[in-house]
């Protein structure tokens, strides 16, 4: 039982207690303001514990003589912590808000923070697409339905939660298990080591490195699979060189329309089917007339 394990346990327990206090009562009783303050403080402490568990990303593997890279890494790390804390904090607020309008608005905070995290790992197209699709379309639809269906303000079922204790226990047990697998037991699912003095020894293996290692060693099926895996359109970088990244939208479009064309067709078909289904379901025509005799 090492330090990060204890830290993870304390953070999860604090966050679970704070979230349980912030959640609505199971009978819909009103909670006092002191309860909200206590729950917020506990959940914030749990969030700080969670952030302490994350590895600071400014550990440069090859310290460059120029300090530009380390400064850039520091800014990147600060942005990462900001977006991670924003995503998790607004997620807690989304789940625990009594008013569904506030829930939808906090959920846009989750979306914006996730888009920032996407930007940090060079997925600019997905960052823009997430914000457009979620915050621009889905949230507006949800808000329309909320205003359509909840005109008289706060209802009983918004002030009451279904079995909050058991739900908090289950969810945070899942979170603790995932944190245990990810942070405390790093690299427990590594493939067999390639050589004794391998420079990739203490790292999780990347797909292309594994493919390069096994190239030309296996049967013909392995070679076929490796040929597909090493296709130049599927790589994030030109020639597999990490110093030469492809432009994001161009590379993503190339991979999407060269390797995954059937995926695009399937996505279009699913969207079309969902459109027709939504129109059919939301048809205001009644299913059968009320006073018509039902046939056996």
């Amino acid at each position: 039982m090492n330090g990060s394990m204890i830290l993870a346990t304390i953070g999860v327990v604090l966050g679970a207690t704070g979230t349980y206090i912030l959640l609505p009562h199971s009978r819909g009783d009103v909670k006092s303001r002191n309860n909200y303050i206590l729950g917020g403080v506990l959940a914030g402490l749990g969030l700080i514990g969670f952030l302490l568990l994350l590895t600071p990303p400014d550990v440069s593997p090859n310290p460059a003589p120029a300090d530009f890279s380390s400064l850039g890494m520091m800014i990147t790390g600060a942005c990462f912590y900001l977006f991670a804390a924003g995503a998790i904090g607004t997620a807690v607020m989304t789940v625990t808000s009594r008013n569904p309008v506030y829930s939808a608005l906090w959920f846009t905070g989750v979306i914006v923070s996730t888009a920032g995290l996407f930007l940090l790992i060079d997925a600019q197209f997905l960052a823009a697409g997430t914000v457009i699709v979620y915050a621009g379309a889905i949230i507006v639809t949800f808000l329309f339905v909320i205003m359509l269906a909840q005109m008289e303000g706060k209802a009983v079922y918004d002030r009451a939660a279904k079995t909050p204790g058991r739900a908090v226990f289950t969810s945070f047990l899942l979170l603790w298990s995932l944190m245990y697998c990810l942070a405390v037991v790093p690299g427990s699912h590594r493939p067999p080591t390639a050589g004794a003095n391998d420079p990739l020894e203490d790292r999780l293996r990347r797909g292309r490195e594994l493919a390069e290692y096994y190239r030309g060693k296996g049967p013909i099926e392995t070679k076929l699979v490796l040929e597909r895996a090493l296709r130049p359109t599927s790589s994030l970088f030109f020639d597999g060189d990490h110093q030469k990244p492809k432009p994001n939208v161009a590379g993503l479009g190339e991979a999407l329309y060269a390797d995954h064309l059937l995926t695009v067709e399937m996505a279009g078909a699913i969207l079309f089917a969902a459109l027709i289904a939504a129109v059919l379901i939301a048809n205001p025509k009644p299913l059968r007339p009320v006073d018509a005799p039902t046939e056996a």
Partner: protein, 155 residues
């Protein structure tokens, strides 16, 4: 030539994605408003998308981002169908409470005690505290105040 996106960074992203997934699961289990439940499901999808993009960046290919685009598509479809279902259900029961839909269960299963919990829940009257809303006077009804109405005050 070592990629700067180390496995520690990958672990960071996976942890944030796991936290989003667990919080979305908490909302989906514990909330009773159907719209909040669907928002929590979208939050779980966001956590999975974050993990996928981080894995794709770590392995140096586009597969994670392409799968995230598929997730976006499915989430949009799910939101549209969920909205249509919610409108239909609201038209029948005039409520978004998911515990009122016990008769959607499979035949032969006993309803759980959630319906009784819904019946036992606190009444809708505003209670003093941070959650109570002010009551506005309904439109068209004369408010009970001692002043003269404005039509008489003008003359």
């Amino acid at each position: 030539m070592i990629d700067l996106f180390t496995s520690q960074l990958l672990t960071n992203y996976l942890l944030v994605g796991a936290a989003l997934f667990a919080l979305g699961m908490l909302g989906f289990i514990s909330r009773r408003n159907m719209i909040v439940m669907f928002l929590s499901a979208e939050m779980m999808l966001q956590g999975v998308a974050l993990s996928l993009v981080a894995f794709g960046r770590y392995h140096g290919n586009w597969t994670g981002q392409i799968f995230t685009i598929v997730i976006l598509t499915v989430a949009a479809c799910e939101a549209s169908i969920a909205m249509a279902l919610i409108v239909i259900l609201y038209n029948r029961r005039s409520s978004l409470d998911v515990t009122l839909w016990q008769d959607v269960r499979e035949p032969g299963l006993e309803p759980s005690d959630l319906a009784e919990e819904a019946a036992e829940a606190a009444p809708l009257e505003p209670v003093a505290g941070p959650e109570s809303y002010p009551h506005l006077t309904p439109a068209g009804v004369e408010p009970a105040h001692p002043m003269k109405p404005w039509t008489e005050r003008r003359s």
